[in-house]
């Protein structure tokens, strides 16, 4: 029985393990614990199903992000443009 209690997992723990597994960072023991929990718990099973769907949507969306240097560049250009604009306003 001691072995089983080691495998025990609360739903909250299962939820974050499930997320961890979506990013392929759960280890074998964690995956086994999650599997067992999901076998026994309908709510978490549904949650996992949705979570997988969300992952596939995220993959499909193929989101890109600007690097921090690109963002810095935007800020710089905005600042330059802004000071030019205010100088022009002063002239008028």
């Amino acid at each position: 029985m001691k072995g089983l209690s080691l495998m025990k997992l609360s739903c909250a723990e299962a939820a974050s393990l499930c997320t961890k597994a979506e990013y392929r960072e759960a280890n074998l023991k964690e995956k086994l614990r999650l599997k067992l929990h999901i076998y026994l718990c309908r709510t978490c099973k549904d949650y996992q199903h949705n979570n997988k769907k969300l992952s596939s949507l995220l993959k499909k969306a193929n989101l890109k992000s600007c690097s921090s240097s690109e963002k810095e560049n935007f800020r710089k250009k905005m600042n330059n443009g802004n000071s030019q604009a205010s100088q022009e306003q002063k002239k008028h």
Partner: protein
């Protein structure tokens, strides 16, 4: 109702990724996209007095961006005088002269699919806006940029289990937000 106000200091943090994803699928070149986005922010700054507050900040910036993208198309086409339409005329030696047989393979991802995926991406970014800033940031770093757990934990000074709880919560809100249109 909340009043829409402009807050240019936050533009880059809040909308750069959104504008970038909108632009890149249309111009297909990172550098060009960045130039167009810079122009958009600048144009926004210079026409702040025209903002009436009926639209959200994001919608307003997108409307400027759209014009900048059209300007870009005009610029690259002006050298040729006209937009160029290329058409390959069927070679009579090939089998099948019907145009239907000449269309591209349907299993390819069409421009339409790509647009739909971009729309999905923009919907996701809009939903992420509703999360608190730290949550959204951690989620993006992990999911979009694929940064490893340890690096993020160090940067935010949190434990790995903390990180997974945060990401789990972000994903739950995201799923709820996307539910209406995409699930």
């Amino acid at each position: 109702m909340e009043e829409n106000v402009l807050n240019p200091d936050k533009w880059v943090d809040r909308y750069a990724d959104y504008l970038f994803n909108y632009t890149i699928v249309r111009v297909n070149d990172r550098e060009v996209a960045n130039d167009i986005i810079s122009e958009t922010f600048l144009a926004g700054l210079n026409s702040m007095k025209n903002f009436k507050g009926d639209a959200t900040e994001r919608t307003w910036l997108i409307s400027i961006l759209k014009r900048k993208i059209i300007d870009h198309y005009r610029r690259i086409n002006s050298g040729k005088g006209q937009a160029e339409v290329k058409m390959n005329f069927p070679n009579s030696e090939d089998e099948g002269d019907w145009l239907e047989e000449k269309v591209a393979d349907l299993s390819d991802m069409t421009a339409e699919d790509r647009m739909e995926n971009t729309e999905l991406g923009l919907a996701i970014l809009e939903c992420l806006d509703q999360l608190n800033e730290k949550q959204a940031q951690i989620f993006k770093m992990k999911t979009i940029d694929g940064i490893d757990t340890e690096t993020i934990c160090n940067e935010f000074n949190i434990s790995p289990s903390n990180l997974w709880v945060i990401i789990h919560r972000a994903r739950t809100s995201l799923a709820k937000c996307l539910e209406k249109n995409w699930f």
